[in-house]
């Protein structure tokens, strides 16, 4: 029987600007089962990335989580004191959240080109997270670990001694995945992980991510706006519009019989390869 890795209940997040309060996330609820890939799709400003940031405990001023719960269940092998526990991320201390990130919930950021440090070698950046989480390794163990991680994302071990500018966009995105899985998290959040890559590389990167997810028996929360990519990637999908979840369901149902008019328009808005439509 599968268990809920993540349960979000009636989450509300506001941004406070000098003139008004923006309800970025306006009471949304959903859950993600173990081993499941769940997608959150919507246009920019719909609040999808804000939800992802809240799960990582990264909502900062002028944003504020107003109410709701984010329950996370860490499976076996989680870092103490969070192993085998069900916690409300909202009630954790900053230190507890820091320990949870990467080890329990990890992020594959949007545009890895901007998330890697340009003046540090890949090896050092891969070790950062491990060091930060108090994992002590000997020099030899470090080499082994890095080799293993790079291999798992289809990169040669020489990549470890390169700088980010020496890598292509697809390779950088693979490095970002290698870092995200380095502590074997139970939930991987992928925020538009391939939006800057061309289609062939995109497919290679997504295939790599899903293969690793299976191996780690982790769940994936995929955030994005590309309905085509969602259709090919996730099991269940939530459609967000103006801070609300307008539709949630199995991906085959949503694409087969979209209920909400916004979902219908989102699917129809994809540029077609069979029919030219007038844009002007």
């Amino acid at each position: 029987m599968s268990i809920s890795i993540l349960e979000v209940n009636d989450l509300k997040i506001n941004y406070y600007t000098p003139n008004r309060v923006i309800k970025a996330v306006d009471g949304i609820s959903f859950d993600i089962q173990s081993g499941e890939r769940f997608g959150l799709v919507g246009e920019s400003g719909s609040g999808k990335s804000t939800v992802a940031m809240a799960i990582l405990g990264l909502i900062k001023q002028p944003g504020r989580v107003e109410s709701g719960e984010i329950w996370f269940t860490n499976g076996n092998g989680g870092e103490e004191p969070l192993a085998n526990t069900r916690v409300n991320i909202r009630s954790l201390s900053l230190e507890q959240i820091r320990r949870l990130r990467l080890a329990g919930v990890a992020l594959v950021p949007q545009g890895a080109m901007n998330s890697l440090n340009p003046v540090k070698k890949i090896r050092a950046q891969m070790l950062d997270g491990m060091v930060d989480h108090g994992i002590l390794l000997s020099g030899h163990e470090k080499d082994e670990r890095i080799k293993e991680l790079l291999e798992s994302v289809g990169l040669r071990q020489e990549v470890a001694n390169m700088y980010p500018h020496e890598l292509s966009g697809g390779m950088k995105q693979r490095v970002a995945i290698a870092i995200a899985i380095s502590l074997r998290p139970k939930l991987i959040i992928a925020d538009e992980p391939t939006s800057a890559l061309d289609v062939i590389v995109q497919r290679q990167v997504m295939e790599t991510l899903f293969e690793l997810q299976d191996r780690l028996q982790a769940s994936v929360l995929m955030v994005g706006h590309d309905m085509g990519l969602m259709a090919q990637s996730v099991h269940r999908l939530g459609v967000m519009y103006a801070g609300k979840l307008v539709e949630v369901g199995e991906v085959t149902d949503i694409f087969g019989h979209p209920q909400d008019s916004y979902t219908q328009r989102l699917i129809a808005s994809l540029p077609s390869l069979t029919r030219k439509s007038s844009l002007v």
Binding site: V199, Q202, D226, M227, A231
Partner: protein, 351 residues
């Protein structure tokens, strides 16, 4: 269409056997970014041509060569029939005005310490487009209105106060001010949110129709290319693999690489398998293809002939050429005759 190009008048922009090689210093390996590329952009009738390829295919190198920002290793780029490196100062000035670019990143083209007005006032001054302050203001406002922006809302603001879509449209307004004859748009929508892409592409289409500007649309996104272009050139590692009528190429791709590209587009239908269920080789080999076909290492149909020599262009239909030995039963055309297969707008305009 009544304004036909006069016979024998030179094409707007042309490349002749252009090759660009990077590296090759002592102990360094060479990379051929563009190889023997001959191609013409006509100014009249104004066209929209898509140049498509994955990262590393040489498409941005070609843009730089066309703009004269880079000189070819061999071959030449011609503007109105004259090689870029043989133009005098006034011809250069005219060239720089006639051929404009829209860059991929709408964040990088702005200087963060200047108001967005700066991007518009610089070309007005450099090209002496306005004689008074009020004329300048009027020019800026009408360009912004033409791309669907509200001048009152935008002028006087700083780049960080605007969205990516707004910034990219101001970049288009800037181009419109200059009234060039051609725009090179290098991935103009890849960094813009999906919901805004259509409006930016519509702006480009409008520039083409209403202001009679030819557009070279450089992208890796076949779906948007299909929506706005008439012809397509597919590049793979610096060489043309397939070219011609975009509807034919997209709807029944012939080159195995074009087929792979189209199969790799994630379809909004969960029961239609991504990539047709075919598996991908993990790494695109960077090995030197020697004299053979550059795609041979990744090609599911690779044959003996592919390892021996580069496939020439085979003219499979009136408006299509494919560089693949699978089609060696049809007539060949020379690389320099690529232009002859393109569709001219009058015959296809679906309005």
């Amino acid at each position: 269409m009544n304004e036909m190009r006069e016979l024998n008048s030179p094409a707007l922009l042309q490349t002749r056997g252009v090759t660009k090689v990077f590296g090759g210093g002592i102990g360094k390996s060479k990379t051929t970014a563009i190889e023997n590329f001959t191609f013409t952009i006509e100014g009249e009738p104004p066209s929209i041509t898509a140049l498509v390829g994955e990262s590393g295919s040489g498409k941005s190198t070609l843009a730089q060569l066309l703009l004269g920002l880079m000189t070819p290793t061999s071959g030449e780029v011609l503007y109105l029939g004259k090689s870029l490196d043989r133009m005098d100062a006034s011809e250069k000035q005219q060239f720089r005005r006639d051929i404009q670019i829209i860059f991929q990143d709408p964040f990088d083209v702005y200087n963060p310490v200047y108001k967005v007005d700066h991007l518009l006032t610089v070309p007005i001054e450099k090209f002496h487009l306005a004689s008074s302050k009020s004329e300048r203001k009027q020019l800026m406002e009408s360009a912004l209105v033409a791309v669907g922006l509200d001048p009152q809302e935008l002028l006087g603001r700083y780049p960080h106060q605007l969205s990516g879509g707004q910034r990219q449209r101001i970049a288009i307004a800037r181009v419109l001010l200059i009234r060039p004859r051609m725009i090179i748009a290098d991935e103009p929508v890849s960094m813009v949110d999906a919901s805004l892409r259509a409006s930016i592409l519509a702006n480009l289409q409008q520039l083409n129709r209403d202001f009679r500007i030819s557009i070279l649309y450089i992208t890796h996104d076949l779906a948007t290319a299909f929506q706005i272009s008439t012809n397509i050139v597919v590049l793979y590692r610096g060489s043309v693999v397939e070219a011609g009528d975009i509807t034919e190429v997209i709807q029944s791709p012939k080159h195995p690489y074009t087929q792979l590209l189209i199969d790799s587009i994630p379809k909004p239908n969960p029961s239609q398998k991504w990539g047709g269920g075919a598996t991908l080789s993990r790494t695109s080999s960077a090995a030197d293809p020697g004299q053979g076909c550059k795609f041979a290492d990744r090609c599911p149909h690779v044959m003996q002939a592919c390892r021996i020599s580069r496939p020439p262009l085979f003219k499979t239909e009136e408006h299509r050429a494919v560089a693949c030995f699978l089609y060696n039963d049809v007539p060949q055309i020379g690389l320099e005759d690529l232009d002859t297969i393109f569709v001219s707008r009058q015959t296809t305009d679906n309005g």
